[in-house]
């Protein structure tokens, strides 16, 4: 996706199943937003949503990207991956539903809260997925 009018654009590659690095991109995003002087409560919301999105990429995807776009009127966080895709999005959005493996649960994730957490944090939430192709989540936060 092009840098359409965003005053800042950052793209982070997320490795699948790398729990040691998981959260690094979200931490960077939080740092950047703080440096931009964004209000603390909003920074916190974006950080939580970014971290959940990043954990989803680490836990479920075969690799993906976490993107931060800052424009004058909004912050956007985009998580996109190269598969495997979500079979039933409605079910995946349900709190408590999870397909995460034990490795994720051992880290305190995989409780089936991720997507609903993300949705609650942002002002606009969009998710699109195709089995075998991949998933794309877009979250915007009004400034």
């Amino acid at each position: 996706m092009a840098n359409d009018g965003a005053t800042m654009y950052k793209k982070y590659s997320i490795e699948p199943a790398n729990f040691l690095l998981a959260g690094e991109a979200a931490e960077q995003i939080k740092k950047i937003l703080k440096q931009l002087g964004i209000d603390n409560a909003l920074v916190r919301k974006v950080a939580i949503a970014s971290y959940e999105a990043e954990m989803n990429l680490v836990i479920h995807s075969c690799g993906g990207r976490l993107i931060l776009k800052v424009s004058p009127d909004e912050i956007a966080i985009i998580a996109e991956d190269d598969g495997p895709g979500i079979k039933d999005i409605e079910l995946a959005m349900k709190e408590g539903y999870s397909t995460a493996p034990d490795t994720a649960r051992e880290m305190g994730f995989g409780a089936g809260m991720g997507l609903s957490n993300m949705k609650r944090c942002c002002d606009r939430f969009f998710i699109q997925s195709e089995e075998g192709r991949g998933t794309r989540v877009e979250m915007s936060f009004v400034l």
Binding site: F19, A22, G23, R44, E52, M107, G108, F109, G110, A111
Partner: protein
């Protein structure tokens, strides 16, 4: 009411593993091993009590501005985890009390649940 980190150390008879500012205040507490729940419910100025000792606990604490983490039941995190917390100025305490006891001790002192919902 709030408690300072030095009070947490005293009340929980905790070992202080890292942190700089013992006068930092916490106003509420959350006891959980589910980091997604922590991300969903926790307010600022909350102390997190947990039995998990991996790096994602510190990442989670950083994301929601948790100033102090207490590891319960005498679980000692690895040096990497302690270093990670120190780099982020998050205080780390370790108590021999179980999750239930540690939460109970703080509750008795008037510390409330952290629930942002």
């Amino acid at each position: 009411m709030g408690l300072h980190i030095r009070d947490l150390i005293r009340v929980l008879e905790a070992e202080f593993l890292c942190g700089e500012d013992l006068d930092k205040e916490v106003r509420s507490a959350c006891g959980s091993d589910l980091m997604s729940d922590v991300l969903a419910f926790v307010k600022e100025q909350t102390v997190l009590l947990t039995g998990l000792t991996n790096t994602q606990v510190i990442r989670t604490a950083e994301m929601v501005d948790i100033p102090a983490v207490v590891f319960v039941r005498g679980k000692r995190p690895s040096d990497d985890v302690i270093q990670m917390a120190a780099d982020r100025k998050i205080a780390i305490l370790m108590t021999r009390y179980t999750m239930f006891e540690a939460c109970g001790l703080l509750y008795q002192l008037g510390i409330k649940a952290s629930n942002a919902r």
